[in-house]
Amino acid sequence: MPNTDDELIAQSLDGRREAFGELVLRHQKMVYNQARAVLGDAHAAEDLAQEAFLHAYRALAGYRAEGRFPAWLRTIVTRLCLNHRRDTRREIAWADLTGHADEMADGPDSRVGEWEQCRQVRGAIAALAPDYRDVIVLRYLEELSYTEIARCLGVPVSTVETRLHRAKKQLRLRLLECGVQGEETPAGAETPPAGR
């Protein structure tokens, strides 16, 4: 029976490296994708993911959020992304994020069209302000609730609502300029119910 995160943390504190290695294997995908979506650079995301895990290892003794290790780790990644962005202050190239284009190059044309649309959407996300990009990534990549996003960023929930609204508005305008219309709601269709 696989151990829970808290059990692995306790084993790591007892000096078992393999327990922390198990934690890394469980959460490295989440950490890497979040860093990659925020920073827009695969190499920087890998470096930041490594740094995030080392930070988490050093701070394991102070881990108090029992049962919320992913959220705790996500907070570390967010803080490191903010620091990295503040230190580097460079434009996001988003060049490496299109690496999977090779997979779709040989596929049907519809997939190429989807890939092109995704590329434009990601470009629009990259053009957002850092604060707006953070909330978009945490909402649509990590699929966090407003309360979790607010806790992760250290801002009120109302701030998260406002930032998400403005981010979506800017994305919508930018995609309209690029000619990306998205899926149109069929005439007569009901409004989707509140929920995911």
Binding site: F20, Y140, H165, T191
Partner: protein, 286 residues
Amino acid sequence: MKCEEWEIWISAYHDDALDPERLLKVEAHLTGCEACREYNEAITALEPMLRSAMVRVDAPETLFGRVMSQIPEPVGASPRRRPTLRPPRGWLSFGLAPVGVAICLLMARQPPDSRVVTAPTVESPASTSRPEAPKAGGSTRRSVKPGSGARPSSGAPAPGASPSKAAPTAPPEPRPELAPLRRLNQRRPRRFQDDLAYDPSVRRHRSSSRRHARRRSPLLANNPAPRTMAPRSAAYSGPSAPASSWLSVVDYVLPRADPETSAGEGTVFVLPAAETYAATPTRYEY
């Protein structure tokens, strides 16, 4: 409420982040506002694109190796939870505070071993009426009064005084070691009052303000017969001055009060410890 505010609620409505009360209000508003309905449809079309663009990829294979290479091997003791120094709670927080204050006061009162004071070699005869126990490392007050033969003699140690420790015979004056430094900042009247050689019958400066004091100082005064003193660069010998004999430093740095010219002026020199002369320039307080 304006449409801008409704749009914020509509965006949260799509993310299932509204409480039941606001949810009912948004649904009711959507039925009556065309602009908000269009915005709602635009958000509905945007969200699938955002989710599809957020593609999750696998982490690089080298990431695990890079992380584990930085994790040190456990050597002996395990990295257990480090004891955090939390402040005491409850009655302990009150119980330890006076203990800490008492320890600080005791440390402040203890004379440092490095400080050596040649005790009351400059005690003037008039000052012996109020005996003072010179403290090792502390400062010693020296008062120069007219007509009192106040020029100190350099070779008259106080009876029972030793250069390495305070005079045991003299009654210990309950003055902390830092008191002389504090006196530098005090106003002149208070210094005169606390001065061991203070004699109320002696005429002193009427004005206690620093501005008037500076006028009378030998450095800045416009008196026709200014006191001459050795230039500080020559007199201030610095670290080479013998720390054990603070009197020599006094003779070089401070002007000798001439009873004839300084009639009615009681000058109080507050001297810090000898080694501080080497570290800091001399300060004159009048």
